[in-house]
Symmetry: C2
Subunit: 495 residues, 2 copies
Amino acid sequence: MSDESQELGITESKSHKPGEWYAEVVQKAGIADYAPMGGFIVTKPRGYALWERLQDELDGRFKETGVDNVYFPMFIPESFLEREKDIVEGFDPEVAWVTHGGHDELEERLAVRPTSESIIAPFMADWTRSHRDLPLRLNQWCSVVRWEATETKPFFRTKEFMWQEGHTAHASDEGAWNEVWTRLGQYEELYEDFLAIPVLRGKKPEHDKFPGADTTTTVEALMPDGKSVQGGTSHHLGQSFAEAFDITFVDEDEDEQTAYTTSWGLSWRALGALIMTHSDDQGLVLPPTVAPTQAVIVPIWQEDTKEKVLEYAEEIAADLEEAGVRVELDDRDERNPGFKFNEHELNGVPLRLEIGPNEVDDEEVTLVHRPDNENVVADRSGLVESVESNLETVYDKLYAAAEETLEENVREADSPEEIMGTIGKHGGYVRVPWCGDQACEEAIKEKVSAEIVMQPLAEEGGETTGVPEAPNDDDAECAVCGEPADEIAYFAKSY
Amino acid sequence: MSDESQELGITESKSHKPGEWYAEVVQKAGIADYAPMGGFIVTKPRGYALWERLQDELDGRFKETGVDNVYFPMFIPESFLEREKDIVEGFDPEVAWVTHGGHDELEERLAVRPTSESIIAPFMADWTRSHRDLPLRLNQWCSVVRWEATETKPFFRTKEFMWQEGHTAHASDEGAWNEVWTRLGQYEELYEDFLAIPVLRGKKPEHDKFPGADTTTTVEALMPDGKSVQGGTSHHLGQSFAEAFDITFVDEDEDEQTAYTTSWGLSWRALGALIMTHSDDQGLVLPPTVAPTQAVIVPIWQEDTKEKVLEYAEEIAADLEEAGVRVELDDRDERNPGFKFNEHELNGVPLRLEIGPNEVDDEEVTLVHRPDNENVVADRSGLVESVESNLETVYDKLYAAAEETLEENVREADSPEEIMGTIGKHGGYVRVPWCGDQACEEAIKEKVSAEIVMQPLAEEGGETTGVPEAPNDDDAECAVCGEPADEIAYFAKSY
């Protein structure tokens, strides 16, 4: 038993060794394992259950807003990739190539999809004839492969990763922009209302756009170790893909027009951000929204009280289940309550219901919040409402803590030294006026491996635009080179 | 408009040219398209919606019976495949190989998974330590690749196909057998209670088992063209995989034991069987269970009746939607009712609700069944119940028609000539006594390309066994060679 407890517990510390701590939580909480090939992971039952809940949530939002799911082949002929030169240049060093089928060499190499624009776009061209066929909104849930030679970090850095990729065509530039904002807004909602992670929204600098895109918009989340995670991206592809793949349509005046396209994707990196943001030295912490088990009942008995305690616990479990709470009654005989407490803490169950003989006699239940162990004694009558409101409280606590971290970690700077010093000392974001020159980013990147992760977007008449926010001061100078600056940029280290 | 109608309609005949007819239905009903690489297809929105409904249904049954979903890498190192010699021999000629990542040749080739036993089994070994870890039940929904050089037939023959693959480990042979029957039973239920397709259950002959399996059980469905489709298979793998991959556990007496494993899979071939079984020369026909849209309302108006007809139709749509019916109100102005009728027939909407001014005045609705155009006039009051019961009637009609086809097409034979003659004339199944020698199957296969697709299973004490049913007559002779026969076999052509 002592061996098992040791095996169960997290030994690394989140604040001192965040990388080791993260790897340990992922493995010990049954989320993922390392595959035998570097760069690949195995997603275990509790990890996959999180992905399924996230999929359900996001897929529901997509379907409510006119998106159809499809499935395209996992292989893309080399000649198709080459039709969009930016794509092939962007992904060429990262493509896994299938060269043989059975014992025969293929006539043309097949790329394992790194992203599917170049196989989907020809079909979008075929399916788009009249303005009545637009907008065309397709999405697929699949895995993609990018052969990056980096250390494996589950959900953050893997050669194969799961994601959704949306691909749309529109009759007008405005239609495409609306699409870009709709999807970016849904990503933002997913993080803020479902994963309890506040995000910053903005655009990537011009030199860091998706290959071939006009504009790449992003939501960025700050991790507790001070690095930024690109949480999801929504690209305005302008007419470049439509021109390369002949996505044209006949408009209302019978004239042929070229469509505007977008693509947008969110990967299982969201699970990495989820785990890293909320979890602690006791293990996984999950918001009740995404937790496969929201509440666990741990009955505490002696031989002479077992019957009445269990009966009371079973009634409560039935009530909660009927109300739609994802509840588990842990009535295992072979484990003591302390062991169970630790195990459910490790696995990130948001609310623990403790029931002993006193609770039965007093017609009460003790509710314990994960992660802060706050105790609340609730009456048996009205328990369903108490559980629901305590689950909301747990969500709010997690969100508030993440929000506080974010708010405390957006700082300003006036010089390259100050940018580097701030990032070195605190991590987080450094907000600066920027001249727009990539060389200024490079100067910082070389020294502290921080880059421009995001530029907040200007608003016009209450609407977000695709243009970066300008500094308040008309005479603002770039924090790196001192030249006139008309854009704001956020520097940060990033995953 | 005439061009569009022509484009819309099915031109081939199911009875005369079943292959061409099937390809046309699949494309024109928006189910799938051919990809540019032979052997691959693109699953379009209406086709993917069918797969999603099937997934939901089967996944729900799995989860209720203790199965956890997981995700393993899509690549398997060559050396892993080689650990299970039967697997590597079975799939070697069909494996797509990744040899390069970016610009570099890989040290070891990676197979794109043809099936995942050899990458999952090592993890099952790692996760199985004590008898308390068993049974271990894992499943993944993914696509696999088998490089077979055959003509593409959407959902029936494609190099990449979508499926689920379940992999389980058990402490006892009996536990593994129970698993095999549970999953085969769920496949049977999926076909019979959800896809309206009756199936035959049995085992594959010894020489046609899954590579490495002790027993391969199958559900087989008869297609209208007289060929059998293997609808899903559930394999008892005995201890061969457990021995090859060291899946062992410590039992209650602290002794080390080797586990028993199973695997089971159902692919999107089920969609092919669905489309082929029920559809007709007007297009797709779908049981209401799986149909994304169960009922479509087509309002029929003149200018002066438009307002009242639409108002009535909208109320009805709202009522049905509230009751959980997947209903669509087709109120497009630019299409006339006849065009709409044809389009919804083509797309396989099971029930059409026609609403004209007379229906409004009489407080009635005309319900029209797909596929037989039977008309039912229903009262506005109690309409929800009428729609629900007519949807059930449509399901029952489809099932009854398929069942009649199956029952009429199981015939017996006493000689090779009779087997071949029957299959040549009628298609379907020929049930014969068989000696168990593969040579007897080969003799038939060479001449009429029919094979033993299934052997019904003996029952013992009301329970299915893994042993083939014996002929009623103790002196039965093999229908091919005349030697003593103690097994029953079903010959058929197959997909």
